[in-house]
């Protein structure tokens, strides 16, 4: 496992691991993401927030490669990645979870995570070794008691854990977490926050899309706010969340 960066938060002067420049996505005329530019730095946690329909998931889809941007450029560790299919991006270390949890429903927890170990950046070729490392990640995420359960029999919190374990088994450099806290209670949200922090300690750079703003506040080094597909704010979480434009984007205009 790669060593974590020497210092986590605060330092934003290092080389960006991910650069997005003027990323745009149009679906049959409608602009879903409009000329968004941002950078992510090694080992930071960036919160990506915005009301429903702001274009967050579309942006993540373009980074992971399941959607092609209509315009703009993406670079990962300095290399342009626009031409790469999703599986090659995974091999580079870009890894994502899905908003609607997408475990492989008919496979067991262990198998799900093993897929990550086999095909991710680690690309373990030997099944036994892949299984072993999968078990480690299952322990790490606290899912050991459900190792042999079918993924679609898991309840909410365990599903999230599985999603994390799968992602971690891929040994990602950049992890894109799409709404992993939806549907969890306060205690469970705390657990997930701890997990994400533990991951960062292992040197992973993390992009978090989240509606549970409490979590964003306590997790993120920086926050990026999308509204109607455009970037409306970026920076320190506390400051950004006080920004009247952000408040209005969330709560709406106060009416008489």
């Amino acid at each position: 496992m790669s060593a974590p960066g020497e210092n986590a938060a605060g330092a934003t002067t290092r080389i960006p691991i991910l650069q997005a420049e003027g990323i745009t996505k149009r679906f049959s005329g409608l602009v879903s993401v409009n000329r968004v530019s941002f950078e992510m730095y090694e080992n930071e946690i960036l919160g990506l927030i915005g009301p429903n329909g702001a274009g967050k998931t579309t942006l993540v889809n373009m980074i992971s490669g399941t959607l092609k941007p209509s315009d703009g450029e993406l670079r990962f560790e300095g290399q342009p990645i626009d031409a790469l299919p999703p599986y090659q991006r995974a091999h580079l270390g870009i890894c994502r979870t899905f908003q609607v949890m997408k475990p492989f429903p008919g496979m067991s927890v262990l198998e799900n995570v093993t897929v990550g170990a086999l095909f991710g950046r680690g690309g373990e070729k030997v099944m036994a070794k892949a299984r072993r490392s999968a078990r480690e990640w299952i322990d790490f995420t606290g899912l050991s008691h459900r190792v042999d359960a079918r993924a679609d029999s898991l309840g909410g919190p365990d599903r999230k854990r599985l999603e994390f374990a799968k992602a971690l088994a891929m040994e990602p450099k950049l992890l894109l977490l799409d709404e992993v806290m939806a549907g969890l209670n306060a205690v469970e949200v705390e657990e997930v926050i701890e997990l994400i922090k533990k991951m960062r300690e292992r040197g992973v750079t993390i992009l978090v899309i989240e509606h549970v703003i409490k979590a964003i506040r306590s997790l993120s080094d920086r926050v990026l706010v999308l509204h109607h597909g455009e970037k409306i704010a970026e920076g320190d979480p506390a400051a950004v969340l006080e920004d009247p434009r952000v408040v209005e984007a969330y709560l709406g205009r106060r009416r008489q």
Partner: protein, 315 residues
């Protein structure tokens, strides 16, 4: 697969090797036929069961295997093994050629396209003089049921071992991931295109060899029997009946269905097909996920398993 079932399987295979010295000739006929059908179901399983790509076009590979053997032996008087090789080459080439465009289609589109290919291929071959056009080809007659039996058994064992390997290997994990969610599989680092094509090629290969063996055994082939479209449906039914995506499901499924069909055909001849149709209808209603799933389900939930299946799938 734990060691005990594997040991049982090994013992069964060893016992099966000696069947020709015990069984009657009729049994042998039935056994060779059932073994070859099981190979077809098992080969279909590699693609259909593990990747979830439902092929209705495997009769194309079967037909090419059949004609590979027939053309080599009848037109060029080459030995049987050359025929098998020719069949394999034809089938694999065809799989590569059609796999690339067709495996881009998902779900029902893929199924439909393969169905179309199967129909077109029979018509193409029946217009080729080297394949004997419509008249068909006559292969040398040989009375060697023991050889055909052992060959078929060997092929089935090989095919099943391949499936066993697939079920335990990195490759197989990739295939199953594709079946469960192809997009997620892609983002998890699986080169889905290559995996699907390899699965198709493997499936084509075993199917073709089964075709070659059948051709030599039956000694006369024509396009109608080599590219029989109902064969596709039979493979699918057998694999699905037993449990697609499992190692032994397709085997058990095809043996049971072969036995039922044979029993019906020999005892209540005329209504056999009718009863067979009813069996299929009932199976789809009560055990839509195949025997393997049903056994587990009934063990866990008893007869409620069937009701639950209906509740899940009815409107």
């Amino acid at each position: 697969m734990r060691p005990l079932p594997l040991a049982i399987a090994a013992v069964v295979v060893v016992l099966l090797v000696f069947v020709p010295w015990l069984a009657s000739d009729v049994m042998m006929q039935f056994a060779i036929d059932a073994l070859l059908l099981a190979v077809l179901a098992q080969a279909w399983n590699i693609l259909g069961g593990f990747t979830g790509y439902v092929s209705f076009g495997n009769s194309v590979f079967y037909g090419l295997g059949t004609y590979g053997a027939a053309i080599a032996m009848a037109q060029f008087h080459l030995p049987f093994w050359v025929g098998i090789l020719l069949g394999i080459v034809l089938a694999v080439l065809c799989a590569l050629l059609i796999g690339i465009p067709i495996l881009r289609l998902r779900g029902p589109y893929f199924a439909i396209a393969t169905l179309g290919l199967a129909a077109a291929m029979g018509a193409i071959v029946s217009n080729l003089p080297i394949a004997g056009s419509n008249i068909g080809l006559v292969l040398p007659l040989i009375r060697a049921d023991t050889m055909f039996y052992e060959l078929s058994l060997g092929l089935l064992v090989l095919c099943t071992l391949t499936v066993l390997w697939v079920s335990k290997s990195r490759f197989g994990m990739g295939l199953v991931a594709i079946r469960e969610d192809e997009d997620a599989a892609g983002t998890m680092g699986i080169n889905t295109t290559v995996f699907k094509i390899v699965a198709l090629v493997l499936s084509a290969l075993f199917t073709a060899v089964a075709g070659s063996i059948h051709a030599y055994w039956i000694s006369f082939i024509d396009p109608a029997s080599a590219f029989d479209p109902t064969l596709n449906v039979r493979m699918v039914i057998m694999a699905v009946f037993g449990g697609p995506g499992t190692v032994f499901g397709p085997l058990v499924g095809s043996f049971i269905l072969s036995a039922i069909y044979e029993y019906l055909a020999s005892s209540i001849s005329t209504a056999a097909a009718l009863l067979f149709g009813i069996v299929i209808v009932l199976a789809v209603i009560f055990m839509p996920r195949g025997l393997a799933n049903m056994i587990g389900g009934v063990r866990a939930r008893g007869p409620r398993y069937f009701l639950q299946n209906i509740r899940e799938n009815r409107l």
